[in-house]
């Protein structure tokens, strides 16, 4: 083994990479450096057009440097660009669509600040004269309230250059691990740190590794599960896209710790940019001697391969994921045997979520005690939450496990708008609703379970008064119903029945007979029965957690269910098929008031003659009913 003690770990790479090439925001620059944050979110927002306009702006003048970096994590700022000019620190601008490129460049290159609407913040550094009246980027509320460990330096790291990652102390943990620590030691460190699986299962990662390490077999596999496919969760994509080398470093350490010679990244085929960047990163890692044979002279070989998941939500479950890699349908198997004993091709296999993997380098760099400084109860460390819905800020934030819902709300939504919020749905299809009275609960694994919630992969969907709880529930159950693999009956049939019942209570009765009404009334009891049955008897986590949305909805928003069932009333006016308005021809005098007031122009008719409602246009707002003085508009 090489001794690293007398030299810095970076010298290990000296032959393979040119470290000086990596731009550093802390160093003064001669020519303007333009950082463009390119990732899926910003591409949709139009970063490619912005880049084109930047190139056009400089035209033939080659006195500038365009640097493609990853995302800061907050997608509502997209497209983000950062500019560093001579003698000045790096300053970031948000929402720079192509039309603003020339305005911003014009002023900044002349050392004048553009309109403050675009300014995000700067990263001051000694020796560089800061921009006046520009806030510090990391002191902005949105960043200061986070605890960015995994997301550290996101937005500065260039995903396509290994030099950039190494420059920010990347691969240090791996280099020190492989040259100084034994596999068992690594497992011990991870176990003691209390790191738990971030995919939803929340099993102690170190214990999982030890189990796999201690099986006698020689061939073992390590799989990083990046097949994030829940709606509303995009943290895994963020990690793979914007810092692929962090993912690879985590995998390398994991594979070393369980003695696996072969590792896989299981990633969704639709994540094209992430796959592209991972492939490129793997190529660079191999060139730098980080993968392949005899890594750093330790005699250890580790190969990493990308497996493109063909798209099935259930493949997030480890046995289903393994089945899919073996070329089968992605259906789960009963456990035990656990994959750590009998996994891919019958060999011991460790499957870890991508976020778990990304936590590993931090623990080895800073130690388990430092890691445990964040967290609550038995949930240590930080967690990524994907914030979306009716918020001011959309994106991925990293906070301590055990942070309360209210604190997250403070980060992503202004105080004035907070009273409008009706509910938060946490955890995607396997999670549940929280009402404002419960916003004080802490989001750690234990408290979440006590409150009938699952953190899942950390989606955080904010709903306001224009969203209907039944509709959102229906949306998630429909997703589960679509994605249920069909192997076990409780999930396959249960989700179908749940969806039918939800459809029935969110639509008007098809026939007006007593039986139909009775079925609607029975809906709630049936929902509860089926839900508890699914929880108890489903084979895998998908089915067991699917009813959480319904149960937490019934627990906290029962009134809304009752309104739908008994009064056929949807407060948010989302379930528009609950009612049908019609004109009682005998009562209508043809005054035309309703037609004037109808916001959807759904009422037609000539003066002094009975009017008519076009059902396809009607949005069931009830304005006509309220405005009619002759009781001529009725509800069916």
């Amino acid at each position: 083994m090489k001794n690293l003690k007398d030299k810095t770990y970076k010298t290990l790479f000296i032959d393979a990479v040119e470290l000086e090439k990596a731009p550093q925001y802390s160093k003064p620059v001669e020519m303007p450096h333009i950082y463009v944050e390119r990732n899926t979110g910003s591409i949709v927002s139009g970063i490619d057009a912005t880049i084109q306009y930047i190139k056009k702006y400089f035209d033939k003048d080659e006195n500038y440097k365009l640097i493609e970096t990853g995302s800061l994590g907050i997608s509502s700022f997209d497209p983000v660009i950062g500019i560093q000019i001579h003698g000045r620190p790096l300053i970031f601008f948000k929402n720079v669509t192509f039309s603003y490129v020339s305005t911003i460049l014009d002023s900044i290159l002349n050392h004048i600040l553009p309109e403050s609407d675009f300014i995000l913040g700067q990263i001051s550094h000694t020796g560089l004269s800061s921009w006046a009246d520009v806030p510090e980027l990391y002191q902005l509320d949105i960043f200061a309230k986070q605890n960015r460990r995994i997301l550290k330096n996101f937005g500065l790291i260039q995903p396509d250059f290994i030099e950039s990652y190494i420059d920010y102390d990347g691969y240090k943990a791996f280099a020190e691990t492989i040259t100084r620590k034994t596999a068992a030691e690594v497992c011990n460190i991870i176990e003691k740190s209390g790191l738990r699986g971030r995919g939803g299962g929340a099993f102690n990662t170190g214990k999982k590794w030890q189990k796999a390490l201690n099986t006698g077999k020689s061939q073992k596999y390590f799989i990083c599960n990046a097949d994030e496919s829940d709606p509303g969760s995009f943290s895994g994509r963020l990690l793979a896209e914007n810092n692929p080398h962090l993912v690879i470093e985590g995998i390398l350490i994991g594979a070393y710790a369980v003695n696996a010679r072969k590792a896989f990244i299981y990633i969704r085929n639709t994540y094209t940019l992430a796959i592209e960047r991972l492939e490129n990163a793997l190529f660079q890692a191999q060139k730098a001697g980080l993968t392949g044979e005899d890594i750093f002279g330790s005699g250890i070989n580790i190969e990493i391969e990308i497996f493109k998941g063909p798209g099935a939500y259930v493949c997030g479950e480890e046995t289903a994921l393994i089945a899919s890699m073996e070329g089968e349908r992605g259906t789960p198997k009963p456990k035990p045997p656990y994959p750590s004993e009998d996994g891919l091709f019958g060999q011991p296999t460790v499957v870890n979520n991508i976020e778990t993997v990304c936590n590993v380098p931090y623990i080895l760099n800073y130690g388990g005690d430092e890691f445990q400084k964040a967290g609550l109860n038995n949930s240590f460390g930080t967690k990524l939450f994907s914030i979306s819905g009716k918020t001011d800020i959309t994106g991925v934030i990293e906070i301590d496990l055990g942070t309360s819902v209210a604190e997250i709300m403070d980060i992503c939504i202004t105080k004035q708008r907070q009273p409008e919020i009706k509910a938060v749905h946490i955890g995607g299809p396997s999670g549940g609703f929280i009402d404002p009275d419960k916003f004080s609960i802490n989001l750690d694994y234990e408290t979440a379970i006590d409150n009938k919630l699952g953190l899942g992969s950390g989606s955080f969907l904010v709903l306001d008064k224009t969203n209907c709880i039944i509709d959102i529930t229906k949306y998630f159950i429909k997703f589960i119903n679509n994605e249920s693999c069909g192997k076990c009956i409780p999930c396959r049939e249960g989700s179908q029945r749940l969806l039918e019942i939800l459809n029935r209570i969110s639509e008007k009765p098809s026939e007006y007979n007593k039986h139909e009404s009775l079925l609607r009334f029975k809906g709630v009891t049936q929902l509860e029965q089926i839900s508890s049955l699914m929880q108890k008897t489903s084979l895998c986590g998908l089915g067991q957690n699917a009813p959480n949305t319904i149960l937490s909805g019934l627990l906290r928003f029962r009134q809304e269910y009752e309104e739908h069932i008994y009064e056929r009333q949807c407060e948010a006016n989302v379930c528009r098929n609950l009612k049908e308005y019609y004109v009682v021809v005998d009562n209508c005098v043809g005054c035309g008031i309703c037609a004037k007031k109808c916001p959807a122009d759904a009422i037609i008719g000539t003066e002094h003659q009975a009017h008519f409602i076009i059902q396809d246009r009607c949005i069931k707002c009830g304005v006509c009913e309220a405005s009619c003085k002759f009781n001529a508009i009725m509800i069916k």
Partner: protein
């Protein structure tokens, strides 16, 4: 297509099935049933079983893509921010269902669980060109502007 099929090795292992299918779809845009037959012959797995595996996953489609391939994001953020019935409107407009191609071969529809642009929802993409924050009105305009 025949050229590609003829290049297939004589022995296909089970764990390679999905990657061959993915490669085929990447090249031709859909899975042709004749390809499944060939895979079955070369791997010794019944073609019905391979079809079952193929149809299990969301990625694979059995009809060629239309001239305009429309991807609609149905992530939760797009769902809560969208007008009610947006996706139904699109389906009506192009006369095709999910994973389907319209009879005239012009449009094909794919519904994606999340496109990763949650701040811009609802998002649709037509042949790779993104349209953000679309309303029902926008949809009509976008489709009438398409170069048929």
């Amino acid at each position: 297509m025949e050229k590609y099929i003829s290049k297939l090795p004589d022995k296909v292992y089970k764990h390679e099935l999905l990657s061959y299918l993915q490669e085929f779809q990447d090249m031709f845009g859909y899975i042709d049933l004749s390809f499944i037959e060939v895979l079955s012959k070369n791997s010794g797995i019944p073609s019905g079983k391979i079809f079952g595996i193929t149809s299990f996953y969301n990625q694979f489609r059995f009809k060629p893509k239309g001239k305009f391939h429309i991807q609609v994001c149905e992530g939760s953020s797009c769902h809560v921010n969208a007008e009610i019935g947006l996706i139904e409107d699109i389906k009506k407009l192009i006369k095709a269902d999910e994973k389907d191609t319209s009879n005239d071969g012009l449009y094909s529809l794919e519904i994606i669980p999340c496109m990763g642009a949650c701040s811009q929802g609802p998002v649709i993409s037509i042949n790779g060109k993104f349209h953000t924050k679309v309303s029902k009105e926008d949809i009509k305009k976008i489709f009438s502007d398409l170069n048929l």
